[in-house]
Symmetry: C2
Subunit: 267 residues, 2 copies
DNA sequence: TAGTGGTCTAGACCACACG
DNA sequence: GTGTGGTCTAGACCACTAT
């Protein structure tokens, strides 16, 4: 690369044409500088998003990708390193690099960090209450980046830990993405919700933000969770994002934290 | 390094004698294999822990460290990369690498993730209630890795956001480490608690774990927080760790989440 | 034995900060 | 300009997995 004669300025970005980084000298003076490995990272992300490599599948080896993008293996490595750190890819020494998935991993705990008081990670079972299609409220529309009154799907469910009702979830999804999602289909599917979204609707949840509060249980909620009205509950408002930081889920959860706690690590 | 004639096996670890990695060929077949850069990371961590480089100070350049440890710059780089990812070091392009500190950064929010409903990060002021020395209960002793009845310091304080009382904290510290910590000294110090611990007691908080629950305010707590008894509060039980994963603080907090929320990012 | 990711090296050059 | 971290390359070898 260093001997590339076409060594004019490389105002970045422009070099991402899909099948090889074009005018890509290591770097060049420019107000908006983006290193090569970041461009490679973008190209790989595109392939992930487009479904060229699906969750659980292996992606081409570093050597192959280096040849494909016409960069050194080290540059591909750095791109993959970051994608692995972002939980988009999983490296396995001796085997290859794989697209991360909600299906196999122990990715369960990653999005529901509820532990028993003894620190154990108990399994839970879901009990579906309803699944309706309706029009987005202004609030939900804003959070899902939709227009008000756009179609959305609303799911309500309970989670039981050791038979105890512990979590009530209300989940809003963009109707356009989740066509054909019915209560029946939900109840047929075995495994985590996010695994289903990924497998059945091609939408992979990448990251989420949560707003956590303590609230008093309202009568209807208290009823479902089998606690007295006014009982202190953990309120968890989550927005989940997929590729490109596009929001694809709003979730409002109420957790009974008697015997269980929400685990968080600050580092 | 590859031409090192002393090319016997390197059962790792042994090569860390303080002033250069001794028998350190890139690697060697061995059941407990640890790469060179991990050993370098350990040596750097030792220098941080021993106070050779203090919080806020600059550490030697990558080239200098490479010479000191007799490895390539790339290997030092990888060690520093991880330490920076762990928030022990901070890299600044063109200037150097610095020891992280609770004094300057915006490290405030890192350990108190309370935001106003509008998402703004409001400043807060602390109002000290008391600072006593007493003997550790069995529970506190266990969490601080002390023997029961060992001396501990207990601090109680309130935090006000925009003048509103929002947080009540009870903080337990090992008495042996925090000698001479008095309410007067606490009240004199300007800035975050962790900054004081770092500056005045040489103890730097590296990471923490939190257990979060919703609880009903008990009368004494409710009084201090100016809410009715039974009011739903966020209960946050934190254990903080310093170098070597040694626990050095147990903190029990009660948060009023009216107008504020605890922000958490899942990724 | 072959292929993959993981480590280590050495050298070149770029971007940034500061005198 | 000088020094720092940041990027990129090329090549060697190690560790792990599968065949």
């Amino acid at each position: 690369m260093n001997s590339n004669p076409a060594n004019t300025t490389n105002p970045n970005g422009s070099g991402a044409t899909g099948e090889g980084v074009s005018a890509a000298v290591p770097a060049a003076a420019s107000p908006t500088f983006s290193p090569l490995y970041q461009q490679i990272k973008g190209l790989i992300t595109q392939s992930l998003e487009s479904g060229e490599w699906k969750p659980g599948e292996i992606i081409p080896s570093e050597v192959e990708l280096a040849a494909r993008y016409k960069v050194s293996q080290g540059t591909v490595r750095k791109a993959i390193d970051e994608l692995a750190a972002d939980n988009l890819l999983v490296r396995r020494q001796g085997k290859g690099t794989f697209v991360a998935t909600h299906n196999e991993d122990r990715a369960q705990f990653r999005f529901l960090r509820l532990l028993a008081d003894d620190g154990a990670e108990h399994p839970h079972v879901s009990r579906l209450l309803e699944c309706r299609r309706l029009r987005a409220s202004a609030d939900i529309a804003r959070q899902l980046d939709l227009k008000p009154a756009d179609p959305v799907v609303l799911i309500k469910r309970l989670l039981q830990f050791d038979g105890e009702v512990t979590v009530l979830d209300e989940i809003w999804l963009p109707g356009a993405v989740f066509r054909g999602l019915t209560l029946e289909r939900l109840s047929e599917y075995k495994g985590p919700l996010y695994a289903m979204f990924e497998t059945e609707f091609g939408t992979r949840m990448i990251r989420a933000t949560e707003k956590i509060r303590a609230v008093a249980a309202e009568p209807t909620v208290a009823d479902l969770l089998r606690v007295p009205a006014g009982f202190p509950l953990l309120s968890v408002e989550r927005v989940s994002y997929t590729y490109g930081d596009r929001p694809v889920e709003v979730r409002r959860g109420w957790y009974v934290t008697t015997g269980y706690y929400y685990q968080n690590d600050l580092s």
